[in-house]
């Protein structure tokens, strides 16, 4: 309904895309100028015939872009014939889904009880001070982000941390330093 309300003479393409995407099925011409939307649509359409595929599609989109671009909600809603609200509700429910680009290196510390039993809280505190960011935050320059996780299933070999997507057990402060340094240097840690 809102898309009818034109308050300006001419909408920019960006505004059009934002306002009209969910209304215009197969809005190919708009998406031609917006490769991200077109790609999101392609990713969504690839699985749209599966039953209840929304989470899988969001994973696929996030795998491709590192996060969920703005057009994800309207485009995926349109492809799956859901409301934008429903897609938004799902994205916001799951802590894995991010609508902003991730940090270059994400450090995730397990805060499960098993890891706490072997010093996870101290490790998390160390990570905060070393990285200068709070849990759930990014460094200002986007170089690194810190997250908390409740259990990686590595409970016999804690404390556990994931650095740049790789899981590490028996992580000490020194080891975490080395892993972060290595990840930021672009290498694969060992």
């Amino acid at each position: 309904m809102r898309s009818w309300s034109f308050d300006v003479k001419r909408l920019t393409l960006g505004e059009m895309t934002e306002r009209s995407l969910s209304e215009i099925a197969g809005g190919a011409s708009l998406e031609a100028a917006d490769p991200t939307s077109a790609r999101v649509r392609a990713v969504a359409e690839a699985r749209s015939a599966e039953p209840g595929p929304l989470l899988e599609i969001l994973h696929d989109v996030q795998n491709e872009f590192g996060h969920l671009p703005e057009s994800t909600t309207p485009v995926v809603a349109e492809v799956l014939n859901l409301s934008r609200a429903e897609v938004h509700g799902v994205i916001s429910f799951y802590s894995d889904f991010h609508t902003a680009p991730p940090a270059e290196v994400t450090v995730a510390i397990c805060r499960g009880e098993a890891c706490q039993a072997v010093g996870a809280e101290a490790l998390a505190d160390y990570a905060k001070s070393r990285l200068g960011v709070d849990v759930g935050a990014h460094a200002k320059d986007g170089s690194v982000g810190l997250e908390q996780i409740f259990c990686f299933g590595n409970c016999a070999l804690g404390p556990t941390a994931s650095v740049a997507g790789r899981l590490h057990g028996r992580v000490t402060a020194e080891r975490l330093d080395a892993l972060i340094d290595d990840a930021q240097a672009g290498g694969s840690s060992s």
Partner: protein, 517 residues
């Protein structure tokens, strides 16, 4: 002559360097001209020894561990490939008491076989259960599961046979088998290990379930923290389809069954069966009110078996060896085995599969060897974040559903997390509330609002702010959460809180008398 070396691909083993060991061994052996074949097996479950490298010598597998990449050259120098002595050598794996003392039914092939080698799987007894099931009527399969006494391993301990019977009896052409692989409890990892180390067992259990209740499709809902397990399962499903096991004609039976893996997205609550179903449907993982039971109105509103990984993973044994073989293990009404997981501050962490009834002491002290720190045990949490804290004087409790329930605790998924005497139990109680507030789906009020208030009230108690008044409030809150919550998340969160409070009041700045009066 080529020597076979086993290096686990289990993600815990990888987290402590298994991949690096494999790379180093490949490179070093090539450099030396040694012909080796590396098999990336599952973990034997002796996680404190990971990376645990096994070398097959004259048909015997000899174990070394924990091996680091830096040890490889020295090990080869010492004669690793001939099973020679070394400081890291533990001898013939099958003879290691830690393994030999176990009764591995579900985990029979764990660490033994190449997880993705279907021939290896069959050689070690795989598919025998399914082949039997194919020859039986659905009711006979359900009857076998019922007779085995198999109960849900995910924590609630609901009889699997009864659930299957409900689904079998439910009208409708479309039914589903949903495997709950959202193993989110800290201290539990047996599901992950089975999926990574012996995925075919799970697929076989699901297929049997499908034939038993008349479902043609199964989903494995796996948490996103387990990407390795997802990849291995997908590969295993591909192999099973090629083999003619999954698909339109299960092992030539003329009956169809197929499986897809679906991944969660970071929501503990989706381990609750109804919110898992919502999540599988691509929705917010909100807990559904019961009734209707998922067995009658489950996935997409159809009759659905929801079982966890170990439950389904136990089914092939039941069908292969018979219900009695399963029912002969265990204690009282807790029949069969459980795959207990030793975690936290423990010297020898890992998995121990034994019949129900083994005492906590046997597991923690005999298998676990006490704390990793060497300090005294102060508290043990059994059954995940929602389980009670037990004290060392409760170590002789047998691991059995009803006994634990009577003691105000729960066996749950068989996860055991040990804390030494440096632990601050008020912090853990606060964490229980914090965890609930972080992971609550938000549907019901006691859980959504109560958990947040719980953190605040505990903070006020530990800060010494009107301790008596806030203690009363905390007890009232726990009452409301226990009896008022929609699901076990809010309903059980008071268990760790209250057990910490009553057993360790001093950590809260309270006396035992204040807490009990």
């Amino acid at each position: 002559m080529t020597v076979t070396v086993y290096i686990p691909r289990d993600s815990s083993a990888r987290a402590v360097g298994a991949d690096e060991v494999a790379v180093a061994l490949t490179a070093e052996a090539a450099r030396r001209g040694d012909e080796i074949r590396i098999v990336r097996n599952g973990s034997r479950g002796m996680l404190w020894l990971e990376p645990f490298v096994e070398v097959e010598v004259d048909g015997t597998r000899v174990g070394y561990g924990p091996v680091q990449a830096g040890d490889v050259a020295a090990l080869l120098d010492a004669g690793l490939l001939t099973g020679a002595d070394h400081g890291l050598k533990h001898g013939a794996v099958d003879d290691l008491p830690w393994l030999a003392r176990q009764d591995r039914l579900t985990y029979a092939r764990m660490g033994v076989i190449d997880p993705l080698d279907l021939a290896d799987y069959e050689t070690h007894g795989g598919l025998a259960g399914l082949r039997n099931a194919v020859a039986m009527t659905p009711q006979e399969v359900v009857d076998a599961v019922s007779a085995s006494g198999l109960r849900g391993r995910g924590g609630a301990g609901f009889p699997a046979g009864r659930k299957w019977q409900t689904v079998l009896s439910a009208p409708g052409d479309t039914k589903y088998i949903c495997c709950n692989a959202d193993e989110g409890d800290s201290g539990t990892y047996a599901d992950r290990m089975l999926m990574e180390g012996d995925p075919f067992t799970l697929l076989e259990g699901m297929t049997i379930a499908g034939l038993a209740v008349g479902a043609t499709h199964g989903y494995i809902y796996i948490r996103s923290e387990y990407p390795d397990a997802r990849d291995i399962l997908n590969a295993a499903i591909g192999a099973a389809r090629t083999f003619g096991w999954l698909g339109t004609d299960v092992l030539g039976s003329g009956r169809a069954f197929d499986i897809n893996v679906r991944m969660g997205a970071g929501a503990y609550i989706c381990g609750e069966e109804t919110s898992m179903l919502d999540s599988l449907e691509g929705k917010r993982g909100m807990v559904r009110a019961k009734p209707p039971l998922p067995a009658l109105e489950g996935l997409f509103g159809k009759p659905t078996v929801v079982n966890n990984v170990l439950t389904l993973g136990s089914v092939p044994f039941v069908l292969a060896e018979g219900a009695d073989a399963h029912a002969s293990r265990g204690l009282d009404r807790s029949l069969g085995t459980q795959v207990f997981q030793l975690a936290g501050n423990i010297k020898q962490g890992g998995v121990v599969e034994l019949g129900f009834g083994v005492t906590l002491r046997e597991l923690v002290e005999d298998f676990g060897g006490g704390t990793a720190s060497g300090r005294p045990i102060r508290a043990i949490q059994v059954g995940g974040p929602l389980g009670s804290y037990l004290t060392p004087d409760q170590l002789d409790l047998p691991m059995e559903y009803e006994t634990f329930a009577a003691a105000g605790a729960m066996v749950g998924h068989g996860g055991i997390v040990v804390h030494d005497d440096t632990v601050d139990m008020a912090k853990l109680a606060r964490f229980a509330m914090e965890f609930c507030s972080e992971e609550s789906c938000g549907k019901c009020t006691p859980c959504r609002v109560g958990s947040t208030r719980g953190v605040e009230v505990i903070d006020r108690i530990t800060a010494g702010d009107d301790r008596a008044g806030n203690l009363t409030l905390l007890l009232d809150l726990c009452d409301v959460m226990t009896d008022g919550s929609l699901c076990a998340m809010g309903g059980l969160t008071p268990m760790p809180v209250l057990s910490a409070l009553t057993k360790f009041p001093e950590d809260f700045g309270l006396t035992a008398q204040e807490v009990t009066s």
